[in-house]
């Protein structure tokens, strides 16, 4: 296995997991759990909830690895989709449980938006397609990048983002529109 090609290594592990090889699952977990936990944490913002999401996601990966190949996705993106979908379920459940209670502002996020400090991105183990996206995202202003990322990761509308980030709706719309336009032009070069 070549360390130069993380996709291939992860795909081979997923193939083995599909044959009920629990050692391969452990190897896959060691390789990806930190990244996937980071993703879960970004979406649900609570350690306990993010750990539950990670656990559920890996049990899903264990049971569903056989269908990975048919998805035609890079392995980490496929696992990321599973984590995101579980995390969104957890988020919706939590929102329903706390209906009527206003969510406090995400403090870390507020710092990012006010201070314009770049939100860290991590290209370790990222696939080619994610690498291209990363290149284009780095050209955006930090706040545009942040709002676009959150819209996707947390599946939030303009209105929900504005409310959560305590920004005027028009501002959020403008940031997203400009961000998308720049990304469209940039990604066209990688197509």
């Amino acid at each position: 296995m070549s360390t130069l090609d993380p996709d291939r290594e992860l795909m081979e592990l997923l193939d083995r997991v599909a044959t009920q090889d629990d050692k391969a699952l452990k190897a896959l977990y060691d390789r990806t759990s930190s990244k996937l936990y980071g993703l879960a944490l970004r979406i649900v913002r609570e350690r306990d909830a993010a750990e539950d999401v990670l656990q559920e996601a890996f049990v899903s990966i264990w049971r569903g690895a056989g269908s990975y190949r048919a998805s035609l996705s890079p392995p980490l993106a496929w696992m990321g989709l599973i984590v995101r979908s579980r995390a969104l379920d957890a988020l919706r459940k939590r929102t329903a449980d706390r209906a009527g209670v206003t969510d406090e502002l995400d403090e870390l996020l507020a710092d990012t938006l006010e201070g314009d400090s770049p939100n860290p991105m991590d290209v370790n183990d990222a696939s080619q397609q994610a690498f291209a996206l990363h290149q284009c995202l780095t050209r955006l202003e930090a706040k545009q990048r942040e709002v676009v990322s959150l819209a996707y990761l947390r599946d939030q509308s303009h209105g929900e983002l504005a409310e959560q980030l305590q920004l005027p709706l028009g501002t959020v719309k403008t940031w997203i529109r400009r961000g998308l336009e720049q990304l469209r032009q940039c990604m066209a070069r990688y197509a």
């Binding site: 009920q20 452990k26 936990y37 993703l39 890079p74 066209a188």
Partner: protein
Amino acid sequence: MNITQHPELLQRLAASYALGTLRGGARRRFETLAREHAAVRAAALVWQTHWSGLAELQPGTTPDPAVWLRIQNLVQADQAQHRMELARAQAASASGWWRSLRWWRGAAAAGALATVAAVLVGWQAHGGLQAATSAQIAALQQQLQATPQIQYVAVLADDQAAASMLVTFDPKNQKLVLQRVGGFQEGDDKSLQLWALPPAGGPRSLGVLGQDKLLTLTAAEQEVKQVPTLAISLEPKGGVPSEGGPTGPVLFKGALIQRML
């Protein structure tokens, strides 16, 4: 307007559709277009793929080691279930002869012959039998004394109601005997642990099972009496302390019945 003639607009709509910010009527109109035009569908797929890269770019954080232990436990329970289903399928195919009509016809004929033979032999042996009887009765009485008195019985089953463990309790000898009856086999680094689930208070460990088909544990009648249910959980090798209760999944359970006969 044919959207496929306006590539920039198509890209912009596909990007916000896949991002999730295209909502309401605009989203439904886009979905209709996507059903009608493969190019629109393709653009949406391309952007869904682009955005899925965002999940790959998040900075990592090491999760608590307990998360892996929980996953491992669930996965092993999954594997155990899988093996059990396999064993059950094999057992079902092996018992095919039992249903064969020809076999039963043969068995009935053999039975009839055996009866005739037994009656003939009995007729001849009748005389000698009288003398042997009193000695036999004494021996039988002795044997009865040594025989365990099974007063409690439980059949532990999995959630598919397939019997997997037969438990009997002999209070006279304080012996709890477990017999594996299903094809279940735990992994080398795992142990099965037997628990009493009393009506009040938490589960109480009755002992940890070895790999043998038949296992005897020592238990006082007080520990077993008035316990409505027994359960077996999958635990790390060697089992876990009784105070904490089971940490792994409960694989089998069943009611403990006091024999009336």
